[in-house]
Symmetry: C2
Subunit: 343 residues, 2 copies
């Protein structure tokens, strides 16, 4: 049952294409998941995200638990946010609680609810919550220290992550490899997790401040120690360049706020490179000559640039639609290149 | 030619229905125009505004002149913002320039361009700009003092407004009646303007701080002195209650930021009254049982309320769609009630 839900289909070097299936949906990998942290792909309707080519999104389970659990455990995330596609839920995001910093302990993660009440996400509780809100693909609870960190702190994180993972095993669940920028710890964590019963494996704790070359090296090395037949998810990495390098190292799934956050800040990705909107010197008829997205089909670069200059919200919407379309199109081309052994 | 563009069709007391025609479009009155001050109905695509029932919008000509004239005089507002419907342009909005307050002078309105350069909108210049940007219906330049004002200042404003109006006459142009809260000045201004060659007449300088009962009284009295066969536009008034009273006094066209601004601040208009979103006590499946708008057809009140709590932009979009649909539906019912002599 579990193995059938992911299948590698084509290969080129370490890069591979595949299919992830649920009862209702099927998606091709390598795939990019936009973040819908709070159960909304920021600025868009679910319909628009779909039309931009998104088939799966990632929602933060902790956020839903803290802010909308009563409703969502009753009707499910799909119905709540009207997303007719695959939903991954992230077990973490504790750093987003601003009033009171969450902290990791051997038992789990301690945090406060909005009303000030203390709570703990044990590994079991985290999975229970993700299941109750109706997630399609879940992540095991992990201990993810913020950067910079000491080797000692990372050793602790690996120990906790492994201990917790044992309590989280099951179908549709990804384990998360920790180990910071230490190759030996990553190898150890990946190998130990690989012995457990998981649907897939994620590489976490990267793209949080460590040097870029270090990050790419760690991803390359870690992926080598993950089982071939299981999907590999890289958490929080999302620039086109990084995605291309990581696909070459065998990553199947990416999630990142990169395209949507950049869009809201006025940076769009185009076939001719990045454009920073809201600037006097930006001019032209077409946003991106080679793009077929809703924004490119309907509006000019002049108007989009003007909307950013005037801080009109429609600008952020159109830029978000464009960037997501760009990313999904990039993933499509990557899959074709793998099939054609061009990558 | 001019007279054919507006026709009164049914009456009930002083209320009337009619049709305004341009070469390409025709709209039924009484009608509500959402504001698209900066060439965007805030948060929406033109398509969404259309689907919410909007057929005509009002754009601020001064804003376009200051921020996007180079492009817009070349391609026109319709093409710039991709609005396939009627565009009214407001000649005023000088108070929106924050860095340097604009001021009225006998010759016109003095203001600064974004680069600091001094400019003057004479009556002729204002019309020229509105024509160049491709407006369907234009407004003559008027002198609109801010509230509170003295009678003396209003006398001056009426004198200037009449003097300027003489230089602005023409087809597709509305003259604006000034006169503050002084019935005799309103009567005088309305009567004098009525002698000139205009497509329609607007009542301006209200809803800017004067007492509500005073405002409604002035509208009632002023409308009596405007020619029956010409459309009557009330500027800046937009709550459902005020619209209903003013329709009874013979107003045909309304424009206001009321529904869109309220939506962005989380207040929606429903068949059961207003709802303030983002509050704990707001709960329920349907946003508005009696509404068929995109938001009501696709999302729950619970989700919409949650989006406002979380400050997710999609909330503002859905609320804007709903409020505009509500207003356009209200106008439709008002027209039916006039036809059935129920108003």
């Amino acid at each position: 049952m579990i193995d059938k839900m992911f299948e590698v289909e084509a290969e080129s070097g370490n890069a591979r294409t595949g299919t992830i299936k649920t009862q209702k949906f099927s998606i091709k990998t390598p795939v990019f998941l936009p973040v819908a942290t709070k159960a909304s792909v920021k600025t868009l309707t679910p319909e628009e995200a779909k039309k931009a080519g998104c088939e799966a999104i990632i929602v933060n389970a902790l956020h839903i638990y803290r802010k909308a659990f009563n409703i969502v455990e009753r009707i499910g995330l799909h119905e709540f946010m009207k997303w007719d596609g695959i939903i991954f839920t992230d077990s973490g995001g504790f750093q987003s609680i601003k009033k009171f910093p969450a902290y990791a302990h051997d038992e789990g993660i301690f945090f406060k609810m909005p009303d000030g009440k203390d709570e703990i996400f044990t590994p079991e509780k985290s999975i229970e919550v993700q299941k109750k809100i109706g997630s399609d693909f879940l992540f095991a609870l992990d201990d993810c220290p913020s950067y910079p960190y000491t080797r000692k702190r990372i050793e602790k994180a690996v120990e906790r992550t492994l201990k917790w993972a044992k309590k989280c095993q099951g179908e549709r669940i990804f384990a998360i490899v920790q180990g910071g920028i230490f190759e030996d710890l990553r190898k150890y964590c990946a190998e130990e997790l690989s012995k457990l019963n998981f649907f897939g494996f994620a590489i976490g704790g990267l793209c949080i401040g460590e040097p870029k070359d270090k990050m790419l090296k760690i991803i390359e090395k870690t992926a080598l120690h993950l089982p071939y037949e299981k999907p590999r998810h890289l958490m929080g990495v999302g620039s086109p360049e990084d995605i291309i390098s990581c696909v070459k190292n065998g990553i199947d799934i990416f999630d990142s706020a990169f395209p949507t956050r950049n869009a809201r800040h006025g940076t769009i990705l185009t076939s001719k490179g990045k454009i920073n909107l809201g600037k006097k010197k930006v001019k032209g008829e077409n946003i991106d000559d080679e793009c077929e997205c809703y924004a490119c089909r309907n509006f000019s670069l002049d108007y989009l640039n003007y909307l950013f200059k005037e801080k009109e919200m429609l600008g952020q919407r159109l830029a978000t639609i464009h960037n997501l379309y760009f990313m999904n199109n990039l993933m499509k081309r990557i899959r074709e290149d793998i099939e054609d052994c061009k990558i």
